[in-house]
């Protein structure tokens, strides 16, 4: 029995790595990936430059990195749809999802590989933004200013938050893509869902806290901005980990069901 389970696990892992390799390759040759990358780096570079400009004009509290991560939602709204819209929708439109489903791979392996490919790319894009403070600190004479820019705690907290919240965001993108055969509809759907999760929840909490304090309290657990704040301050709580990982699993599970039901 254990041997059977082991061989099953081995075959699942083999499928997963074959699929992941295929998906990464597909992402690397897709123009939308590069569009997402260029837009993302351009926008983030511009934001970083604006932040530094503000710091140069007047003394401000907080670190540039903290302020930079406060605007994490801006690129999420277009990078996530651009990276994920093609994943399932295009395969469904072309019919290649069907041929994939007739091989010994299952829907879970397909979805998880698509998810990880997009997630790895998302993390890579964010990691590239490390170059901004690094490049600027090279050009600066003052070590104090350099230390200020490359503050380990703030950067670590910010990137941990991005990596963690990215799990849910990318999963949402994959889910939206699994619902339709049109890339455009998938992108719109993922944008809307992400907007509701990030901005909508915050507005909802603000509106409800006065009317239903108990509901406002509960909603505070799912405030993504709150999680970012905690991470930036170096507060590593297990609750956000649980929130993002469990919701990511839930959304991916729904995507698997969609693929199985609509092939």
């Amino acid at each position: 029995m254990t041997k059977r389970l082991q061989s099953h696990f081995e075959s699942v892992m083999k499928h997963f790595f074959s699929l992941l390799h295929h998906e990464l390759r597909a992402l690397l040759i897709s123009p939308s990936t590069y569009a997402a990358g260029v837009l993302f780096l351009f926008l983030m570079g511009w934001i970083y430059w604006r932040i530094l400009l503000q710091y140069s004009l007047a003394p401000l509290d907080g670190l540039p990195a903290s302020m930079f991560f406060q605007l994490f939602w801006l690129p999420v709204f277009f990078v996530v749809p651009l990276l994920t819209m093609k994943s399932v929708a295009e395969e469904r439109r072309l019919g290649t999802l069907e041929t994939l489903m007739t091989t010994p791979v299952n829907a879970l392996e397909i979805i998880v590989s698509k998810f990880f490919a997009a997630y790895l790319f998302y993390c890579l894009l964010w990691l590239l933004t490390l170059a901004f403070p690094w490049v600027i600190s090279i050009g600066l004479d003052s070590t104090a200013a350099s230390r200020h820019l490359l503050d380990g705690g703030a950067l670590m907290g910010g990137y941990t938050f991005v990596a963690l919240s990215g799990l849910l965001f990318i999963a949402v993108g994959i889910f939206a893509s699994s619902l339709t055969r049109s890339q455009f509809v998938a992108a719109m759907l993922s944008f809307c869902i992400l907007f509701i999760i990030i901005i909508g929840m915050r507005e909802l909490q603000e509106e409800t806290i006065a009317l239903f304090p108990w509901l406002g309290e509960t909603l505070s657990y799912v405030q993504i901005f709150k999680h970012l704040e905690d991470f930036s301050l170096g507060v590593i709580d297990t609750r956000p980990f649980f929130f993002y990982i469990s919701n990511c699993a839930l959304v991916l599970g729904l995507s698997v069901l969609m693929v199985e039901a609509k092939t």
């Binding site: 074959s18 290649t96 069907e98």
Partner: protein
Amino acid sequence: MAGHSIEVQNLTKRYHQLTAIEDVSFNIEHGEVVGFLGPNGAGKSTTMRILCGLIPATSGIARIGGFSVATRIDDVKRLLGYMPENNPLPEDMRVLEYLRFRARLKEIPAKRQKKRLQEVLDLCDLNRKTSHKVIGSLSKGYRQRVGIADAILAEPEVIIMDEPTIGLDPHQILAIRDLIETFRGKMTVIISSHVLAEIELSCDRVIIINHGRIVASGNAESLRKEFINRVTYRVEMKGGLGDFGQLLKEIEPGMTWAPMGKPDSDGFLNVTLTTPQTEDFSERILEKFQQQPGIRVRAFNRVEANLEDIFLSATRRSWKEVLPAVKPNDQETPESF
């Protein structure tokens, strides 16, 4: 191999009010090449998709290699090579790259992959130059070959191909027919096609489906007996047409004749003789004609009903009338058409 290679019992698929297939039953033995025929929307693709586990059936049983498609899909997938209708392929991959990816997914051992890929490329006539091309730039014929190469890659026990010859030129159709010929006896093959001549030449047996029900199943001989209740002879003759009808009555009372066109420059006319009797009257007709000094015969042949006639006759008949006569396993020993 014990049991049938493919076993389908009372398979039904309903989409809300619409019944795509109803009570479809058939068995296919290992190594048989079976043609699946039917007009558009008859339920061919639905049946094939259920067999591949892509859609669930509303009721009924489908087994491949003894494994139930509904409960043992993982085992079924390992026995199956499927080429869907329209042959979807990733446009941006190279042929070899795609087949290598599929080989990994189909769990072909790494040691054997290279050899098997070369075998398949040779079998499907995909040369070195083509195998390095991007799929999106290939012609329809080459795309079909890539689809077939993928279907046979893992040497599956069962190959299901939905319209494999659609959009191909006669040379390519011939090549694919030769390819299917190499599978005979080794793999079980189901092919759906609109090209009736194609099915007639490649398949051991035909299953004709109409309005979601099987209306005919068997080899050409048995179908001809069942659906074609007349025999036609074609004669190229000159003279003696005055009391020709009477002459034919002496051979077989039910025999009728009809001229085809006008006599040619030598005065020879094409005539068809039709009889409801299925027994062969060729010899008697020729004998009788020879006894008539006024009749000169230049050519004579017995016209066999082809699959097209059988198909038209089977689909024209009401399924209610046909169904009781069709049993799922009424085929004789498979023989080539």
